[in-house]
């Protein structure tokens, strides 16, 4: 089996996780910029983080023969500080030319505030201006439904946004259909306690179809499982879905979306 991990915060993970992912068939990992668990005190903190994502983490992954790609942004959890956000947005363009940068993400909303919306709009403008793919984080728990609606409205309001170049992540049963209906891609995140479980993810694929959907573990420093994607393949097979079904969802779909960025190139080994 082969699969892509399209959303993993690998700077928070151990080398054991890299080994386990490769052994399970992972052909590439993509790392969106994320909240560190505490607010960074200045834009310089982000500069160091972006260097980690574009230089050091791909080198660490390469020791396990795993291609590493990343996305850049200021995470919505830190969007309340508009001054900090402006400074970070200013420094992002100098990193967009790095060879493993796929686009702008994970941008979006956390608590659905006006400041978060303003920073989201500025990230979208930056992405459009630099012709970048967009990866969107939707809020947690009781905030997800409202936040997803606000995000979709902002994206649809920008004439430069092409829905097929945007993936809206962490969808659940109450948001997935509206995301797909607007022409966006949808990401299903597999978490032990929140977001979706493997059985619920397969339910959504059965109900909503398997086009424009990817699965990810979003593994980070919290309760999460870097092998959640291959474990979901087991749930698919147990229900009688074909190997082709599994391959489309876990490998072909993410490759189709990510290949819209010309920098997303996998070596021959990944296609074996």
């Amino acid at each position: 089996m082969r699969y892509i991990e399209p959303h993993g915060h690998m700077v928070s993970r151990t080398t054991d996780d890299y080994q386990a992912m490769v052994a399970a068939g992972c052909a590439a990992v993509c790392e969106p910029a994320f909240w560190a668990g505490f607010d960074r005190s200045s834009a310089d903190g982000f500069r160091d983080y972006f260097r980690q994502l574009t230089v050091y983490e791909p080198a660490r992954a390469s020791k396990f023969l795993l291609p590493h790609f990343c996305w850049l942004c200021l995470n919505p959890k830190e969007s309340e500080d508009l001054g900090l956000a402006a400074a970070v947005l200013e420094l992002i363009p100098e990193f967009l030319g790095k060879k493993n940068v796929l686009g702008i993400g994970e941008i979006g909303l956390n608590r659905n505030t006006r400041n978060e919306l303003e920073v989201l709009e500025r990230h979208i403008e930056l992405a459009v201006r630099h012709d970048q793919l967009i990866l969107v984080h939707t809020p947690h728990l009781e905030d997800k439904k409202k936040g997803t609606r606000l995000i979709v409205d902002v994206l649809r309001a920008h004439s430069g946004v092409k829905p097929g170049r945007v993936i809206i992540d962490h969808v659940e049963e109450h948001t997935i259909q509206s995301v797909l209906d607007q022409g966006f891609w949808a990401g299903i995140t597999l978490y032990p306690d929140s977001k979706s479980s493997p059985p619920r993810a397969v339910d959504m694929l059965e109900v909503c179809g398997r086009e424009r959907i990817w699965l990810n573990s979003a593994c980070d420093w919290g309760v999460s499982d870097p092998l959640a994607v291959p474990k979901t393949a087991f749930e698919m097979r147990r229900r009688g879905h074909s190997a082709e079904f599994v391959d489309q969802v876990l490998y072909q779909n993410p490759v189709r979306f990510l290949s819209q960025c010309p920098k997303f190139v996998l070596g021959d080994a990944a296609h074996a």
Binding site: L141, L205, G209
Partner: protein
């Protein structure tokens, strides 16, 4: 009460031979989760915190499990969601709580 109305589907289901396996492999783990819900509701009563808005929301959402209508997961998620549409003026903190609490006026 009807229990046979199927949810909408786009025809992605595998061969019907796998249908019985859905019950055979999942019943015991799901039974355990239902018991966790029951034990949690007993526990919060025993500790005197059953009036917490999250516990109340959980009890209300649990009613959707047995109303005989499909798309239970979607409807439970919506029952626990913030129904408002306007952006918040300020953030009430980094973390969501799992159920919506109407603001105190």
């Amino acid at each position: 009460m009807s229990t046979s109305r199927p949810p909408r589907s786009t025809g992605q289901l595998p061969p019907s031979s796998a249908a019985q396996a859905i019950v055979d492999t999942s019943f015991v783990p799901v039974r355990a989760k239902l018991l966790e819900v029951a034990a949690f509701l007993d526990r919060v009563e025993r500790y005197g915190v059953a009036d917490d808005f999250r516990c109340a929301a959980l009890r209300q959402a649990a009613g959707l499990l047995v109303d005989g209508e499909p798309e239970r997961a979607r409807r439970i998620l919506e029952a626990l969601s913030d129904p408002t549409t306007a952006p918040e003026a300020t953030s009430s903190g980094k973390a969501a709580l799992g159920a919506w609490q109407p603001p105190v006026r």
